[in-house]
Assembly symmetry: C2
Homo-oligomer: 258 residues x 2
């Protein structure tokens, strides 16, 4: 009944952990579907766990499954032939990943932290499209959002300085976490990835990242609690420093865009 169960167990680690039924709780893949579609999907969807650094899907590898992030952070990355790596996307909980109607991938998907995902066999998922067009529709919308993010990030990489990129990253991370953890409204942000990944994401080096952070801290805009956690002392100034999103105060309590 369960399709391709062992085919999906590419990692010994995963196989030993085993997989459990997706309970459709906090799972973007399954949430907000019609009852019938949700039922069908949860029949083929499984939770899987990965430890930091594990490869979920290799670059140029076969795309066996699609899914969404339940907890942790995944990185979409490309490796150049000289060994340098560029992260083209970070996937936080509720983000979807994978491709449909494509056999091979152009990016590697790896666990940037210990992570849990909810996934299902790609071909089985595609077959559901015939009976539940809403699923394909959802994939289309997810792809469109991903494209928007990619084009936006591309612009950031091409036009902003390293300090501006760091500031933009912190602002967005703050918004992201603030919007998910309702009511928390903390002025601290926790960067869920190491400096090396951050550098690969921001298109620079760990040294430049470090210098930018320390410089911003010396300016009194942020405070470094530990290498992964920052207190945002002056969000307004941080946004100004980012020089990018400044008109964009969606999550600010003061001026809410109409």
């Amino acid at each position: 009944m369960i399709p391709d169960e062992d085919q999906m167990n590419t990692h010994p680690h995963i196989a030993s952990t085993g997989s459990t039924r997706c309970q459709t709780i906090g799972c973007a893949l399954c949430d907000n579907l019609s009852a019938k579609a949700k039922q069908e999907l949860s029949r083929i969807a499984r939770f899987r766990t990965y430890s930091a650094g594990e490869t979920i899907l290799a670059e140029a590898g076969e795309i066996r499954f699609v899914g969404s992030v339940v907890s942790g952070v995944l990185r979409l990355q490309k490796t150049l032939h000289d060994g340098r790596q560029q992260i083209v996307g970070l996937l936080l909980p509720s983000d979807m990943f994978g491709r449909v109607f494509t056999h091979t991938s152009n990016v590697a998907i790896e666990a940037a932290t210990d992570a849990m995902i909810c996934c299902c066999d790609r071909v089985s998922f595609e077959r559901l499209f015939l009976r539940f067009p809403e699923l394909e529709h959802r994939m289309l919308v997810a792809m469109a959002n991903e494209l928007d993010r990619a084009q936006d990030w591309m612009t950031l990489l091409a036009t902003q300085t390293v300090t501006e990129r760091v500031a933009t990253f912190l602002v967005r991370l703050h918004r992201e976490t603030a919007s998910r953890a309702v009511g928390a409204r903390s002025s601290t942000v926790e960067v869920p990835i190491c400096r090396r990944d951050l550098a690969a994401y921001l298109g620079t080096t760990v040294e430049s990242i470090s210098r930018s952070i320390q410089h911003t801290a010396r300016s009194g805009i942020i405070r470094v609690l530990d290498p992964q956690r920052f207190e945002i002392i002056d969000l307004r100034q941080l946004i100004a420093l980012s020089n990018y999103d400044q008109g964009d105060f969606r999550y600010s309590p003061t001026d809410c865009a109409a």
Copy 2:
């Protein structure tokens, strides 16, 4: 019968030019569909012409139609608040553009050269999805390809030098044109955009572009016929100079990847 005809005529220039039925010739929007779908689509699709510099769709503007490029080049661009512009995509003939299920756009679409497009009203197009799922399927695939290109270009912008970016651009343009004009197999490439757009696309300045081109020319790898046209003297070296696609000899006659 024709939906929203006058609503689509936002440009006086276009209105005066008028629109003609799409004949489904050399039109990615209409080609390769079932006869019935093609017939339905061609009923609502129209050719439109734009002169260089005209705006087809404003950034943050309402998305009234979707379509594909028939001739000429369109640029997808974002404008920063300080006036700088970044081109996040170039659309050549047969490329599709536009979004479905989204009211506003995050990029501006402008004619980089005189251009002809084949387009149709977005909402009418979406309505066809119900009867012809293959259309939505096609949009999904197009979106996925666009995302791949965006992630690839992002990597290029973040990791390569200006000279490498220029070389990569020339190599790809050469492949692109060589694969479309079957049999021509010319060693000359014609850059269809001005230096200003090229700089905005490659994430640099016109001065750096010029220096890179002249340097590559002095190395004997290319020859500048005129500012828009180049002769590729040594494709192998140009690919090596690009430092990016070198394993990727899809269009080379010598070693064809399996």
